[in-house]
Symmetry: C2
Subunit: 139 residues, 2 copies
């Protein structure tokens, strides 16, 4: 556990950020979240651990961590931004429109096709995101 704390401290320092209590707490909360929480949910979960954290700090920390590449901001339709720890393998998201559940999709073929497509148009992909809204098939 203190090993984890050192890891967080190091990760923040490497990103040129001070390892404050609030940032460490927020980062650990996000690491332990299996879902993709938004700022408000992160505020609630972080507060449960350290009640000194303010919503403003949650927002500022999220921006800083995103800029540092430690976390990823996701834009879903009609929703506030959600976040996840930066994934090692590129993946997309499928949202179950009935339950709201978010499923991660990984597919190398699609990634390659996408890059190829961009290259043909003279572009280099910086980032991408696919969001599929779907419903469980009948039967």
């Amino acid at each position: 556990m203190s090993a984890e704390i050192n890891d967080l401290t190091q990760a923040l320092r490497d990103a040129g950020l001070r390892a404050t209590q609030q940032r460490m707490t927020l980062l650990s909360v996000l690491m332990n979240s299996a879902d993709h929480p938004n700022a408000d949910e992160l505020f609630v979960r972080t507060r449960a651990i350290d009640d000194s954290v303010s919503l403003a700090t949650v927002y500022r920390t999220l921006s800083a961590l995103e800029e540092a590449g430690l976390i990823r901001r996701l834009s879903f339709e009609n929703e506030s931004a959600r976040y996840e720890i930066t994934p090692t393998a590129d993946h997309d998201h499928l949202v179950d429109i009935d339950t709201g559940e978010v499923i991660e999709l990984a597919n190398e073929e699609i990634n390659h096709l996408r890059e190829e497509l961009a290259r043909r148009m003279g572009y280099e992909i910086v980032s991408h995101h696919t969001m599929i809204r779907a419903r469980k098939s009948q039967k």
Copy 2:
């Protein structure tokens, strides 16, 4: 031109909506927009033609038209919602991160892969959207 107006009237009626001046103007503005404007841009362009249109009506009309399937709402990162006339062929979007330009991408292979992927997980795609942020390749 009056043929166009009749088309718009018909399209709105078919959607179960009254063919008001404001809706016809907004719809024609969007049809004549090569880009993907947001509510505010549509408000400005619509006002240039009919200065009685209010921003509230722009929002209400956009929601109504989207629900009717006549237009499509696009969510880009860190941006307000943008709109386009519902495309006949499914396509995705590439955003040039330096210029902000939005390019439409159509690729059957990716569409098929995506459907196949969803099917394997027991889902039926309702809608999907891919947004690629990219930069022009050097040389």
